[in-house]
Symmetry: C2
Subunit: 204 residues, 2 copies
DNA sequence: GTCTATAAGGCGATAGAC
DNA sequence: GTCTATCGCCTTATAGAC
């Protein structure tokens, strides 16, 4: 059905395309969408700016694809961590696994994932709208985990799980602003934040 | 020593200056620093772009002033909420008061404050460096609250208060991305988030 | 203090050679 | 597929009239 089933007719073109996406994601993530000219992306990919248009229709189309790859990468990372749990794992283990998956994706493997977090607010509205379905699908994973936690009784009745989800996202996503490889490891951050949310600050 | 001690010779100029800061803060906050041309700022202030240079040396200088006003506004709001507490208020009351102050500043009164949060990462490095001392002074307030909490025993020994502070900031600041006036009120958000961090998710 | 006019350069995007 | 060349527009910033 797709090109992988036959030989490899246009493989080289796909490779260049991938390289452009990679360098663009790195530049968008660190410098921002509006502050990154196409000329720099092209230079980083050893090309001239005009050549990019053979692979992408516009700067916006390039950005949209990076955003979508990023969210899907985060979703896969979260699903993978949950799948690695022993059978019958409870809510608190699921929450910590999901947090590890999210944090790993945005801090470690990350240019596509972190572009998502750091550039979403500064991207043209059209791009934001078009990437919404993919974002919604990712948030659905978290809604399910938290709703299960409430039904299990692991989350107190008075907790607003909508607010909880947004606060969890904020706490984790903000790490893209302060994380440094020489500081806390990703596992330490995930464990610390999970404990913070699960147990609160008090002694017991 | 300054102009306020004498009559009011250049008051009108100061007023225009303030107007430019106001409209620029609103535009930077909603659309972003790099995506907001000086022409739009000028138009919103009923002027032409060139006239802005009578009041500010450059776009960067304008942004720097907005960022600093923003942080100082957040700091004042936090200090005010804490000052309103009854004498001898404990850590949990102080934390909730500080959170109310921070959230009110960034969500309610906020173009200067929210410009800070939403644009810090996309601003030229020079501007970021110059605004660092003001930011550090604000963070000092939080470090003090949390260290007191630890000494009081209100924060468990195992909690990393550096990570706690960053996670609190993340949870609160992220609200600039999802807050809508028709949803939860600022007081509800602050109370909900304070409870989340103080008590955790469990039933007790 | 604000205007008009313009400098000097950057931007995304396109056309056509190779 | 990538290049060169360029279009048309936008940008920050400046100079000088009013």
């Amino acid at each position: 059905m797709n090109q992988e089933s036959s030989a490899k007719p246009l493989k080289k073109s796909q490779l260049t395309r991938k390289m452009i996406l990679d360098v663009a994601a790195a530049l968008f993530s660190s410098r921002g969408y509006n502050a990154t000219p196409l000329r720099e992306i092209a230079a980083a990919a050893n090309m001239k700016a005009g050549s990019l248009y053979y692979h992408f229709d516009s700067k916006e189309a390039l950005m949209l694809e990076i955003l979508n790859i990023g969210i899907e990468g985060i979703a896969e990372s979260v699903k993978h961590q949950i799948a690695c749990l022993p059978e019958g794992a409870g809510f608190s283990q699921q929450l910590e696994a999901a947090m590890v998956g999210h944090l790993k994706a945005i801090l470690e493997s990350g240019d596509y994932a972190s572009t998502n977090i750091r550039n979403y607010g500064q991207v043209p509205e059209r791009v934001r709208e078009e990437s919404m379905p993919v974002r919604d699908r990712y948030e659905e994973i978290w809604r399910n985990i938290l709703e299960n936690g409430k039904q299990e009784g692991a989350i107190a009745d008075h907790v607003n799980i909508g607010l909880l989800r947004l606060t969890l996202f904020g706490g984790m996503n903000w790490a893209t602003e302060w994380y440094r490889p020489e500081g806390l490891t990703i596992e330490e951050i995930a464990a610390g934040q999970a404990q913070l949310f699960l147990q609160g600050l008090s002694q017991n």
